[in-house]
């Protein structure tokens, strides 16, 4: 890969491989999902390599949570920003945008490939042993944990968007939960409702 200069950082083949391998490793460490590796990504990308600034990093996390799509697309947003900045930012034009897309794609592949292979073969193995007591105990034994972690994920997302615990935002959150449980209203309408209420009330 061509070395591209920017703000004292260069995208070399060595750095690219280091990033790729690191995200492959993160893929296998992400027990509990994409949000679990956020602290580790911060340490690696912001503190150690200084490829992203503090602001860019936290904006990327917020956007990935709010935009539709799996949370792991957060890695693609990081990759996009890394590539863009390494190639000189928006001023550098199409070269930088191309670099952004290339980094976004590569890091996303690194982040999903190892864990997907593991999942695929684990399921095949479990299908063969589905009547074993340990497999049955594992499957239904995880239910309390899964329910607790899902409620936690919701609570942590609420806190991220509402760090001051504004009661109006808490109310929007509760209302959204209630509407999902009690009605068949499409989730897009709930997002739109949240956006309008937030903007109108200036929250």
């Amino acid at each position: 890969m061509v070395a591209l200069a920017s703000q004292g950082q260069y995208m070399t083949l060595a750095l690219f491989l280091d990033l790729f391998m690191h995200f492959c490793m993160l893929s296998l460490l992400a027990v509990g999902g994409a949000l679990a590796i956020v602290p580790e990504m911060h340490r690696y990308l912001v503190t150690d390599l200084q490829l992203l600034t503090e602001t860019t990093f936290s904006q990327s996390v917020t956007l990935a949570q709010i935009a539709p799509g799996p949370n792991i697309l957060l890695v693609a947003v990081m990759g996009w920003n890394i590539g863009l900045q390494a190639a000189g930012g928006f001023e550098a034009g199409w070269t930088a945008m191309g670099m952004g897309v290339l980094m976004a794609t590569s890091l996303l592949i690194a982040a999903v490939l190892p864990s997907s292979l593991l999942s695929y073969f684990t399921v095949k193995w479990l299908q063969l042993h589905q009547h074993a007591r340990s497999v049955r105990a594992f499957r239904s034994g995880m239910l309390p944990l899964v329910m607790g972690l899902m409620l936690s994920a919701g609570w942590l997302l609420q806190t991220a968007s509402n760090p001051t615990m504004d009661w109006r935002l808490l109310l929007i959150c509760a209302l959204s939960m209630l509407l999902v449980l009690k009605t068949r209203v499409h989730l897009l309408w709930l997002m739109l409702g949240g956006a309008v209420l937030g903007a109108v009330l200036g929250l």
């Binding site: 994409a34 799996p70 697309l73 609420q158 968007s161 937030g198 903007a199």
Partner: protein, 195 residues
């Protein structure tokens, strides 16, 4: 093997069906795809019953990696082998990924407008409510759990307190609550099997 298998699930028709369905899932999934997965796959498509979903989701969440991607790989692979897994995963990531880049680009242009920030907060908490609702819906399955109602509820509360309020690292929460719950369930199943 499920603990309350009342409903029967259907199957996806083809790899294209998988790709399109998971693309649609990804595109409407806010705050992570979890809330939508439950609604689309269980309620609308009926590809899984709620208890099947709880088990698959438990597995997808316990294995490392992004949960919903794991689920797509497991589900696609179960029905159409490696190419099915690839089709489901590609659906989940391709168009939602492009849309994400478009959103990042537009955000970088409008980030300074205060109303945009307010709208983002409103959307953030609405998305959070959806995720909580998805968790809440496991309640009925939880009350039928083989280890008994009080223990199952207690373990759920403990994992919420540890993860959400005490900010324990996930590996520790899974290690502690997962092991205890697995042990208790194994023991109950053993007692049941031997009678």
């Amino acid at each position: 093997m499920s603990f309350e298998s009342l409903a029967v699930s259907k199957a996806p028709r083809s790899r294209t069906d998988l790709f399109v369905s998971f693309t649609w899932l990804g595109l409407q999934g806010f705050g992570g795809v979890l809330a939508v997965v439950q609604r689309e796959i269980v309620d609308r498509k009926q590809w899984m019953t709620l208890s099947e979903f709880a088990e698959e989701w438990a597995l997808a969440q316990t294995l490392p990696g992004p949960n919903v991607v794991n689920l797509s790989v497991m589900f696609g692979g179960k029905h159409f082998g490696p190419t099915g897994a690839l089709a489901a995963m590609a659906g989940l990531l391709l168009f939602p990924g492009l849309l994400m880049l478009a959103i990042v680009l537009s955000f970088q242009a409008f980030a300074h407008v205060p109303m945009v920030a307010s709208a983002l907060h409103g959307m953030g908490v609405a998305a959070a409510g959806m995720v909580m609702a998805a968790g809440w819906r496991f309640g009925p399955s939880l009350l039928q759990h083989p280890i008994g109602r009080p223990l199952a509820v207690a373990l759920t509360v403990v994992s919420f307190v540890l993860a959400a309020l005490m900010h324990w690292p996930l590996v520790k929460v899974i290690g502690l609550v997962g092991l205890v719950s697995f042990g208790l369930t194994w023991w109950r199943l053993q007692a049941k099997d031997s009678t």
